[in-house]
């Protein structure tokens, strides 16, 4: 109580991260079903309601779900701060589900009644979440790169959510638009993806890579430089967007951030190659796929500035959201979940009864099978969307559905591991 940051045992109750983690692939199933049902149509215009629904099934349903669970779990370990009012996290989870379903449902069924529900639920969920995490992170004195990155991520999310709410209200006629739709949209996407998602993955990557794969540490000076360049670009791009700047100016504003992202990617790649542990597991492959998709997505985005073909936007979206964000979060679940189960349920029993090992809580065969499905989904959806080939997109949807379903089963398998009580 007296001095936060002193207690080292601040992990949240296990059900809190788990409920977020398990929900993510369920939304993955919904997203996959939507792609399977509509085929290449969902990749015909980013202004379509269906496409916006799909995007948020993935961004809010998958990526944010895992990010929220990870924030609750990792802030005490990585930043050393206690997350306040931890029981409220269950409320956050509940209203996220309601909000995402109402948002996607409203957009898909064009049902105006659902939008106020979506707005209220999402605002409630994000307000509680952001208040909890920002309180925790601003209480910590340390300015380690990961803490800075997490703050950037949370503040970007706060702005992105506000803009998203403004926009959905404007689109559905709940209130008049404040500024031009495309400006709000571009700002919303920039803040949500580069600040919100990019910020967290990069910040956590600084620590997680050395920790899980026994690599050399991420050079601290370089980490700080990367974050500064990223922040600069985030601010500069936002200003340019608000002033409807042209492609050259926008690209110039993006450049430091893109360069920093590439340096991050190369550094982590190098660290992985030179890691001390030589074992190869599925999580390592998930990281590698993510690290390939990340710079490729930025390439598509940059080319799109000068050659505004919508298909490039879809390539960007697929590479960034499914290839990078969903893949890396997927891989992280396979490191975090077995360990949490072990830690919460078995660690105190060591030496007293026989406890399972991590590989028994979640066998490698299960994870590598799902990895293959996830990779095949990417490899089919991407050309399908770029070349606008319907059957390829639907085949990709099937791989994606298999992958999501498999992840659900794997997580359930792990959650079922309980100590045998026959003492």
């Amino acid at each position: 109580m007296r001095s936060s940051g002193l207690s080292l045992d601040q992990a949240p109750p296990e059900d809190i991260p788990f409920r977020f983690f398990l929900t993510a692939p369920v939304f993955g199933l919904l997203a996959g079903s939507l792609i399977l049902y509509r085929g290449v149509l969902v990749f015909s215009s980013s202004w379509h309601f269906e496409t916006i629904a799909l995007t948020h099934l993935i961004t809010l349903g998958w990526v944010m779900m895992i990010m929220m669970g990870a924030f609750y779990q990792l802030v005490p370990v990585l930043a050393g701060g206690q997350v306040p009012w931890i029981a409220l996290s269950r409320v956050v989870h509940f209203f996220m589900i309601i909000g995402i379903l109402a948002l996607a449902g409203g957009l898909l069924l064009i049902s105006p009644l659902l939008f106020p529900v979506a707005i209220a639920a999402l605002l409630l969920a994000f307000t509680v979440f952001l208040t909890q995490l920002l309180t925790a992170l601003f209480r910590v004195k340390a300015n380690r790169p990961v803490v800075v990155a997490m703050r950037i991520s949370l503040i970007s999310l706060a702005l992105a959510v506000s803009l998203g709410v403004l926009e959905i209200g404007a689109i559905t006629g709940l209130w008049p638009p404040l500024i031009e739709r495309s400006i709000v949209k571009n700002l919303h996407v920039t803040l949500a993806l580069s600040g919100g998602i990019g910020g967290l993955i990069i910040g956590v990557g600084f620590h997680i890579i050395p920790m899980f794969y026994l690599s050399s540490p991420f050079p601290e000076k370089r980490a700080i430089w990367i974050l500064r360049a990223g922040m600069f670009s985030l601010a500069a791009v936002s200003v340019m967007l608000l002033n409807s700047a042209g492609s050259v100016l926008l690209f110039t504003a993006m450049l430091p951030g893109v360069t920093a992202s590439i340096i991050f990617t190369l550094t982590v790649w190098q660290m992985l190659l030179k890691r001390k542990r030589k074992v190869v597991d599925a999580t390592l492959r998930f990281w590698q796929i993510g690290l390939l998709a990340f710079p490729l997505s930025l390439l598509c985005l940059s080319v799109h500035l000068f050659w505004p073909d919508e298909r490039l936007t879809f390539a960007f979206g697929l590479l960034f959201l499914m290839g990078f964000a969903a893949t890396i979060t997927n891989g992280m679940l396979y490191k975090i979940v077995p360990f949490l189960i072990w830690f919460h349920r078995f660690s105190t029993l060591v030496g007293k009864v026989k406890v399972p090992l991590l590989k028994e809580i979640l066998p490698a065969k299960r994870t590598s099978g799902q990895l293959l499905q996830a990779a095949l989904a990417m490899l089919t959806l991407l050309p399908g969307a770029l070349l606008q080939i319907d059957w390829l997109v639907r085949a990709g949807a099937i791989f994606w559905l298999t992958s999501s379903g498999w992840l659900v089963l794997n997580l359930i398998f792990a959650f079922r591991q309980k100590p045998v009580t026959n003492d």
Binding site: L8, S347, V350
Partner: protein, 145 residues
Amino acid sequence: MQTINEYMAADHARCDQLYADAEAELLSGSFEKGREKMLAFEAGMRRHFEMEEAILFPAFEEATGMTQGPTMVMRAEHVQMNGILAQIQESLEIDDPDTTLGAGETLLMLIQQHNMKEEGMLYPMVDQQLTAQVPDLIQKMDAIE
């Protein structure tokens, strides 16, 4: 002047390397060499625990009066790690490299999150609260066999 955090983090890295070497040998199928290296890793771990439990933690507890605080949590995790180390030893005795590797991986995750907490919180606190004693503490820990 070397800080406690630097000194102890270097020892963490040394133990990590010992583990990685042992794991690599076992993975490549050379069980005898793997066993030898795994035992070296085990010795490294036990020495590290002793440095903390015999010297560093008592000094911290005495200086701050906190016996039920961070050091208590760290000691409890040492007990858990010792439990898995025993499992590793057992598997080495009965020539069961699969279990050695599985237990090793489990132990490694436990070690990593443990080290993260020590390097992020506990050691910096020691450096701050016991600044004057740092060289002496390091000398005493160095002397441990």
